[in-house]
């Protein structure tokens, strides 16, 4: 089978051997109501209310959404709006911790016997895709599963630096296996594949041991090439199935879940504690002692840095997530989100953007694109304001993995241009649809 291309990035998995440590309870947490794809949750607490760990503070919107729970016990100080990374104003609950970490009465283990009960319980978990996408897990599992034959667990963790999934697979292997039993059992999925990059030998061994007694479960070592964790790449390299344009893994019989997400499902069902804390890799050249930490969702990233010995040099760039697809943080008070798997801080040397020079048409961006897109042609069509050509070039398939920008010798911001071209194409298609409908009606 031919393999999709990608890039060899320096792994920098400095924290792979470090077990996650719990940080001291933060003084206050800032919890945005939107840490998932879909509509924001609606705050149900008022300023002055006392809340406990695991208590519901934001109710899920009836549509695509996810509820939000408190990670500390304390008092609601503020209900505010913050500007999210995407620029939208998002309601946010600020809770001052009392340091007691009293657990809410609602937190009791679940007794689930049927698929309905399982999904009913999950609707109170607040769990979203923890690999970074933040897609509400319940919605994924609620879909028509009659055609699903495979549960695919994403343990690729192909981004440099991040080791939170690695630690989950090593320290929480039992939870991963239990989560697999729950999901595969209730959804009646026979075939379970765990995809792990083959440089993570310890994870492969640990997961093989953990799922040894689960019928139909196997571990598939993957090439250690970024981006193995991309959904379409993963599905293809583990199962040889191709997710067609516009399709979902569902369309080829697969449910894909991150290993940390599935461990969270097990923990939730067994303890009743919804998703209120997260294992996060704190690393980067500007962090004094890189660590894996467990912190309540909403903890300001500065608290994580302080726990890791503070900054070793002045930070010039901070990221949510890995260096290939991570999002740059505007300031150190930004909170840890549900889908945050790493907080990275870099000094001047790494943060200084390279000088952009003219394209020399070397073709590296084309050669390294996992999906075979042609960024040079996309860029040209974008500059010429030509969405029809963009449609033919299928820029809509770009998963924004960043391989093109990474390999570009002229240091051009190619993936950024692709994103803009995607927007141009989307707007054009919306306009076209409107025009066609208007024609039909008129």
């Amino acid at each position: 089978m031919f393999k999709l291309s990608g890039v060899h990035v320096k792994h920098c998995k400095n924290t792979a051997k470090l077990k996650a440590e719990r940080i001291p309870t933060p003084k206050s947490i800032t919890v945005p109501m939107s840490m998932h794809i879909g509509a924001p949750a609606v705050p149900i607490v008022k300023v002055g209310d006392t809340v406990k760990v695991g208590q519901l503070i934001g109710e899920a919107d009836p549509g695509l959404s996810s509820p939000v729970y408190s990670g500390v016990s304390g008092t609601v100080k503020k209900i505010d709006g913050i500007i999210s990374i995407s620029g939208a104003q998002i309601p946010t609950v600020v809770i001052e911790s009392d340091g007691e970490q009293t657990i809410a009465e609602s937190v009791v283990p679940y007794e689930v016997n049927t698929r309905e009960e399982f999904l009913e319980a999950l609707s109170r978990s607040g769990i979203v895709g923890l690999g970074g996408a933040g897609f509400p897990t319940l919605v994924k599992l609620k879909a028509d599963v009659s055609k699903i034959d495979t549960l695919l667990i994403n343990g690729a963790e192909c981004e440099p630096y991040i080791t939170s999934d690695t630690r989950t697979m090593i320290d929480d292997a039992a939870a991963v296996a239990d989560g697999i039993r729950l999901v595969a059992g209730f959804l009646e999925i026979k075939n379970i594949v765990i995809g792990i990059e083959k440089n993570k030998l310890e994870c492969i061994a640990s997961m093989r041991r953990a799922v040894a007694d689960i019928a139909g479960a196997s571990v598939k070592p993957l090439p250690s090439v970024y981006p193995q964790g991309g959904e379409k790449v993963l599905v293809y390299h583990t199962l040889g199935r191709v997710i067609k344009e516009g399709g979902l893994p569902l369309d080829c019989g697969v449910i894909v879940m991150n290993c940390t997400t599935i461990a969270a499902i097990s923990r939730f069902i067994r303890t009743g504690m919804p998703l209120v804390e997260k294992c996060i890799t704190v690393d980067g050249s500007a962090v004094a002692t890189p660590k894996n930490v467990i912190a309540p969702i909403g903890t300001p990233v500065m608290d994580l840095i302080d726990f890791c010995g503070g900054f070793s040099e002045e930070p010039r760039k901070m990221l949510y997530g890995g260096p290939m697809m991570g999002i740059a943080l505007p300031d150190t008070s930004s909170p840890v989100l549900k889908q945050t798997n790493a907080v990275l801080a870099f000094g001047k040397k790494e943060a200084t953007p390279p000088k952009v020079t003219p394209c020399i048409k070397c073709g590296r961006c084309v050669e390294h694109c996992p999906f075979g897109l042609d960024p040079t042609a996309i860029s040209k069509a974008y500059k010429e304001n030509d969405p029809e050509t963009l449609e033919k070039l299928k820029v809509n398939l770009c998963m924004e993995c960043g391989c093109c920008s990474y390999v570009c010798p002229a240091k051009r911001n190619i993936v950024q241009r692709n994103k803009m071209a995607k927007t141009m194409l989307r707007n054009y298609q919306i306009e076209k649809k409107k025009r066609e409908e208007a024609q039909k009606n008129g």
């Binding site: 379409k232 260096p323 943060a351 897109l373 993936v415």
Partner: protein
Amino acid sequence: MDNGMLLVSPAPHIRSKTNTQSIMLDVIIAMTPALIASTIIFGWRALVMVAVCVASCVLFEFLFQKLCKRDVTVGDLSAVVTGMLLAFNLPVRIPIWQAVFGCLVAIVAVKQLFGGIGKNFANPAITARLVMTISFAGTMTNFATSADATSSATPLALMGTESMPSLLTLFLGNHGGSLGETCALALIIGFVYLLVRRVITWHTTVVFVGTVALFTLCLGQNPLEHVLSGGLLLGAIFMATDYSTTPSTKWGKVIFGLGCGIITVLIRVFGGYPEGVSFAILLMNILTPYISKLTRRKIFGGVKRK
């Protein structure tokens, strides 16, 4: 702490080490064995010619960009590569002023007037060489190996005669020809270096040379003599692999090499010029956009729209 200092920029936040300058430096390193060989074969004047061409190319690029108030990009070393390549394509005895004129054509007319690095559609060194071949027919075909020697013909002109050099001589390069083209050994060392450094892939070069060998064999000629004579190796390794003027896809490179090989043999065997490599590459340069379009990679998971 001053939070205003955090830089917010789009992903990815790490980049590979390779940049335009490092690629060009690799090409220069790959041409160094041929430069040394040409100095041994043709004497110090070879080194002088290369120095003159490199200096004029860099100077013309600098002056043109200053004059047009564009960013000066001589630091990317691409003008150095063009200068070296052009010098490699000239006979050692050519008057300096003619070489300088060639550099003017390469850098200003072929490269900068089309927008500079990456935007030119024709290979600057090859086009300049062809302009010079037509303009200075006498000096461009005087392949005397040293100042006092009488003009010596290139192996391509001698092919089939008794004075045709042996294959070993052809391989080591001690015969008439342009500066950098004669020593096959040195060129192949450069080729291996470029492959190891992943600056180029093998496709264009191997298909180009292979086509020439196969085609000449079919025509009843000695394929090894054809491969080792003239500018084939220089062209196939260093000029048919130029990024901006040749296709970037694997199959595009194969088609490009195939076309170059066929045209080269047609000119060499049936045409009026003894050598056809330059014309072949230039003609294929013109077809490059079409080849690129025809050989686009298949898009993973792409669905044809009605």
